[in-house]
Amino acid sequence: MMQPQIRNLIDISDTPAALKGKADMVLERARWAAQVFQRYDRDATMAIVDAVAQAAHEHAGRYAEWAVEETGFGVVAHKKLKNELTAHPLVEHYRDQDFVNVCVDEARKIVRIPRPAGVILALTPSTNPIATINYKILIALMTRNAMVISPHPAARACSVDAVQTLADAALAAGAPDGVIQVIADPSIALVEELMASPKTAVILATGGTAMVRSAYSSSTPAIGVGPGNAPVFVDATADIDKAAKRIVESKSFDNSALCTNESVLITLTEVDARLRNSFKQAGAYLCNDDDASRLRRYLFHDRGFNIESIGRDATWIAQECGIRVPTSTRILLAPITHIGVEEPLSREKLCPVLAYYVAKNRAQAISQARAVLRLAGAGHSAAIHALDERVAMAFAAAVEAYRVVVNVPCTQGAAGFATALAPTFTVGTGFFGRSSVGENIGPGHLIHWTQMAYNNDVAETFGNYHGLTQDFGGPLPQAPSDGVPGSNGYRGATAEQHAGSLPGVTRDELRRMIAEELRAVLRK
């Protein structure tokens, strides 16, 4: 028998009305979910967060493979690690912070009530698709926000699947339906509608400059971050061997697909020879001038950076350029004699190629580091390897970066995975980088607080807020479907169910897993 088909005689899918209709519907569903989510108490919230973290952890490997296969960027093992780090360890980092309950400050006679943003529109990149999704979803859930994720088209399939997996886990753990949604078909026109909609409370934009600027132009509040181009200064007081090892570790981590990777190394004449030698020991290949020209031509087209090279192995890139390197090569060091517009290699390189510049003295080194960030990556990251804290201070105070990591791999350090900085996949580039936030973005950026403030006058006493909380109603009781078997009328408040605790994983197991993961990152 012939089967009925849906045949669209009049296609309006590209019209503004259709795009707005689609955007409105997704966002309004999210607004409903956000409203209901705000009725949840902290236990119910954290149960959902833990369940989603567990799902992210369980699927870390599968999505790492999928992301590398779909995008060609990065290293499966490293992506798996990032996906795991943005699961339980991320949650543990914020475990003791309370984004749900009121906070009473007796001394200042102020009570603070957390107010979630509502609906967050998250744009996620192709370079770190799954880790960014894990991270954004978890910080949204910690703060009882709803999130709509619009993935980068180059990582569409794995991103859509991953968001759906986490959304299912959230729902199963008791989250409101629609609290996490994904745009399966993210056209530019649709994303612009989503960004411009008054139903979006804030845009959390991680990705290319054009997209971030577009978020800021949308008239909706935005937390967008600029690109990186981290200078790393190896000072004469550095432990040279350790510095080289850490930098190689950092640059080869996921083949520099993270925007916090070192881009231009600056060192001093007196360190040069020793440092080259240490790099060689650590698995770097030192390019000659001819190799460097080949790299320059390959990596930088007239249109900009060659995206083919993003997250590729050093040996793969060398082969593409016709440079013969040992198979054990982990990064390529390209010596340069200029920094600035005339030297493309002093721009951001999301691949294991590190420009290598020798300065005459510290003052020149700092001046060159400033020039690197003037060219690109303002407000992002910088690194220094030095044992003299005065040098570190002078460097950090001079460069226009909001995180300067010291004696640590910059990739992991600036992203908060090998330092005490907030673990993040959205690095605030602040005012230097034309962004609204200069810190690593975390859950705290996704809520504002209503502050109840009392009279300063000592004669006026502060209220007794001990044991007082907001009125958490919990999930909305399900309305009846009268007459449908099993509907059983309305159960009102008694129907309110609370999400259970994380199944199958004890706290000890969790700690053990986290410790293992952290050890892997910190191994250097």
């Binding site: 009925p4 088909q5 849906i6 045949r7 669209n8 005689l9 009049i10 309006i12 019209t15 009305a17 259709a18 707005k20 209709g21 519907m25 997704v26 309004e28 569903r29 607004r31 409903w32 979910a33 409203q35 209901v36 409101p176 339906d177 629609g178 109603g473 909305l476 009781p477 399900q478 309305a479 009846p480 479907s481 009268d482 007459g483 449908v484 078997p485 309305y490 009102g492």
Partner: protein, 423 residues
């Protein structure tokens, strides 16, 4: 009231409908709808009303839904009503779209009317042809429209006026939720079909008892009658599923959808017919002719309506709206427990029950004066029809609840004075 509105109402009385125009004035509702957008209506004097009447789901997706307007505009660049005698692209496309989401797997045919009444007439004619029997059983106080056959199935208030009530004993009415009465009506095996609103709307949404509808369907099967589901007000996701009858485990033989299917922009109604019941379509396909029925522009709008209501976001929102409204109404009911005594609900199909035989009328009036438009049940004025749209925002739902709390309080005061509320 503005001078302009006074003058307009005079014209309305003179040229359109004196009785209807005046009745509303007598009920304290001086509404003349002018501009409309989303779930808002604007009176010609400017007052905004949140529409919870929606003309029985006609405006499910809001007034002048931009996607539907776009579909209609784009459609008019290619189609018009079409020629009803010929195979037609849009009619067949809509029929396929309906078959794809029909409540029964063998429901392949769609015959078209220009409104729900005509579609009911088609359903009745189809059942009579298929069974070669004449009798039709419907529910007392049921409402299926005002056309020739549909009229006879409903309350005699609308048929006797026109000397059009059934005089042949072909239209039998039984009480809702009464299986014995239903079986008595069917026992003679001379009934062509039972015509059933899944939830009788104009009767104030009394809810079918558990097991009632499936038992009626079984009785139909036992006594060789067809089951016609009137899903005009309950279909199209209003009960949280595409068709409410499926929630009650009914696979009807014939189903009628109307009102909302045309998106409030182009009137159209559809009679979906199981293949085995559609014999007349083969025997004499010209048997029912309707120039306006299934106009192709209406089909274009209807296809877009079907596409929109089947989006996953809509299912989710219907559930939120149902739960949220219920939670809010429960609070209001607790506050006025001696007056507001019950809520009938299935999804966003809701009836609010008041402890006074005309109770819903003053509630309607006070809601009207507080910016909400919801209409009483014509055939049971104790009940207010409360019908939020499928896409209502949380903010609008909160607005409605805020205003309902005020309106119900004022209505209670009007009817019961400032007596002490019972605890």
């Amino acid at each position: 009231m503005s001078q302009a509105k006074l003058e307009f109402l005079d014209r309305s009385r003179t040229f359109w409908n004196p009785g209807k125009t005046q009745d509303w004035q007598d009920m304290g509702i001086d509404l003349v709808i002018d501009r409309r957008e989303g779930y808002y209506l604007y009176d010609m004097d400017g007052q905004r009303l949140i529409d919870l009447h929606l003309n029985g789901g006609t405006y499910n997706l809001g007034h002048r839904n931009p996607e539907l307007v776009e579909a209609l505009k784009a459609g008019s660049a290619r189609f018009d009503m079409g020629n009803h005698h010929f195979p037609a692209l849009a009619r067949t496309a809509l029929a396929e779209a309906l078959a794809a989401c029909a409540p029964a797997p063998d429901m392949v045919y769609t015959a078209y009317g220009s409104g729900g009444g005509e579609a009911i007439d088609i359903a009745i004619k189809t059942a009579r042809h298929a069974t070669q029997k004449r009798k039709i059983v419907s529910i007392i106080k049921a409402y299926h429209g005002h056309t020739g056959l549909a009229l006879k199935t409903g309350d005699d208030r609308f048929s006797k006026l026109f000397l059009s009530e059934d005089t042949q004993g072909e239209f039998i009415q039984v009480p809702f939720n009464d299986l014995n009465a239903m079986e008595d009506a069917l026992r003679g095996r001379d009934v062509a079909a039972v015509l059933m609103e899944t939830i009788p709307a104009t009767y104030g949404f009394p809810m079918p008892k558990e097991g009632y509808l499936p038992a009626v369907k079984s009785l139909c099967e036992r006594y060789d009658a067809l089951y016609i589901a009137d899903e005009v007000q309950t279909g199209l996701m209003r009960c949280g599923e595409m068709w409410a009858c499926t929630k009650y485990d009914i696979e009807p033989d014939i189903m009628v959808t109307g009102k909302g299917i045309g998106g409030g922009l182009y009137p159209i109604a559809c009679t979906c017919i199981a293949e085995r019941c559609g014999g007349w379509l083969k025997e004499d396909g010209f048997g029912h002719i309707s120039t306006g029925g299934g106009a192709e522009l209406g089909c274009i709008v209807a296809m877009k309506t079907l596409e929109i209501v089947q989006r996953p976001e809509v299912r989710s929102m219907v559930s939120f709206i149902s739960d949220y409204m219920r939670a809010g109404l429960e609070k209001i009911m607790a506050e006025y427990s001696d007056f507001f005594i019950g809520i009938r609900q299935h999804g966003v199909v809701m009836g609010l029950e008041f402890n006074h035989e005309q109770g819903a009328k003053p509630v309607m009036k006070h809601l009207y004066h507080n910016g909400v438009w919801a209409i009483f049940s014509t055939l049971d004025p104790r009940v207010l029809q409360f019908k939020p749209g499928l896409l209502m925002t949380q903010a609008d739902c909160e607005e409605v609840l805020r205003r309902v709390e005020i309106g119900v309080g004022l209505a209670r005061e009007e009817l019961m004075g400032s007596l002490r509320r019972s605890a």
